[in-house]
Amino acid sequence: MALAKDYQSVMGRSNEIQKNALGLDYADFERSPIAFDYDALMTSTGYTLDEINRIQGLHGVGNTPLLELRNMTELSRKYAKPGYGARIFVKDEACNASGSFKDRRAACAVAHAKKLGYKGVMAATSGNYGAAVASQAAMQGLKCIIVQECYDSKGIGQPEIVEKARKCEALGAEVVQLTVGPELFYSFLSILEDTGYFNASLYSPFGIAGIDTLGYEIAMQCREKLGKDPDMVVCTTAGGGMVTGTARGLKKAGCDATVVAASIDLTGLSMASDTDFNKKSCTTGHTGFGVPYATDPDHSDVPRSAARPLRYMDRYVTVTQGEVMYTTEMLANIEGIERGPAGNTALAAAFSLAQELPEDAVLVVSETEYTGAGKHIQPQLAFAKENGIDVRFGSPEEDHPGVNLILPSDPGLMKYKEADINRFRRSLIKKAVKKSGLAPAELSEDDIKFLIAETKTDEAFVKEALAAL
């Protein structure tokens, strides 16, 4: 008998569909309504760092260059007090096969799908991950479908996302495009069920384990090139995978660099709003993903996300869209490296973060991404203007997402903003308790331990947050 494919019926089969599409039963890792065994989930992949290295090495992924940005360092030092201004390095992840660090996640997810005998892979993403999965599927001989949120209700697409659709098709994938809304997940599940493909989710343990090599390479390359560990590693954060995997890899290398997460501040723009959709000028790397995924990692397309950024970040900072566009042009014009804007979010933050560290300190930005038509500051700024955004020079302080886009009138005006990470930590605790249906007093010792790990805090912090609920 054919299965009913209406919204309620498909969503009702969500757990079953996901289980079949991942070859993994998340129920095995649950310990209570709050806690689950994160380490067991991560080791369940069976992929050691060596094995991941081997898989990535076979598929055009990893061992990307660590580039020193000498001119940007020199420029940044002009605005630092004497003796300050860390050396800025960037991991040139655009050199991966499809042009971003997402290849690290895709290589493992696709290899795993192939090992389990799936005929194809699917991913729900409007970002670089689509191209990464399509590229790896092509290399490893599987079929591929990418589902993206791309258009507003008038059928007007974000240039950055349209380019990613083109790239996915060029790499052999079918691209299903949708208008704005979380029900994309329904279309995704429905096709997953029809095709029996593997869910190459961004948030599976296979996907996240693939990023561990990035952090590991950063530590090793710094030791080889500079004879020392990095002091600070800055990661752009949206879904949280980059921060999670990079920090895990640094740890595996025995490196205790400060891990800073950076997002573009898009406060005030609703991610599910049809009218706000084309008022943003960067479609990823922003707080619209960064904050919800940090404070509630499990609202993704898998029951338990392997990306849990608050476990790993030491600080969370924000920058403006204008600062990211400006930094992207800076990277091209004074460093000779033309890369895509969204990947330069962490770099924009690094420019001012470096000014607080001594000159002999080493700051590493964990990624770059490819650039191309649509995915470049000129079409993105032109699109902003077409959508009524006031693009002009000024102080980033005047930034108002969806209304204006302020390019710093002087590089000295670039200044990251420190986000209140403790507020995010308390928010994670609140959401976890709410989801569990338990009263704060009903939490077990194990639940408290879990929340301490989830928030990288201590017992006093978690107990205080629980008492405030």
Binding site: G120, S153, A165, E329
Partner: protein, 101 residues
Amino acid sequence: MAKRGDWVRIHSIVLKAEERTAKLPEDTMKCDLQQWTKGFLQDEEAKIGDEVTVKTAVGRLVEGTLIEENPYYNHSYGVFVPEIIEIDRQLREIMKFGGEE
């Protein structure tokens, strides 16, 4: 007029506005959830606006309204944005590339 085997783009409504039950902002609540994909036309012939079936790149059969024959991308590097060359000019001046004037 598209013929069987032509590469075309189709459009469909996944959920009508009144069928959307997810937690959505008011503006999105008023919109249908729309979907687009591409494939080889399976009907003998069809014109724009016809309901058709296509076979996609992975071989799925999908129904929808024919909206484009021989679809292509026209996204670009965008129109001239004068602010960009101003950034370049300023940075080059601060960095004194080529030495002092």
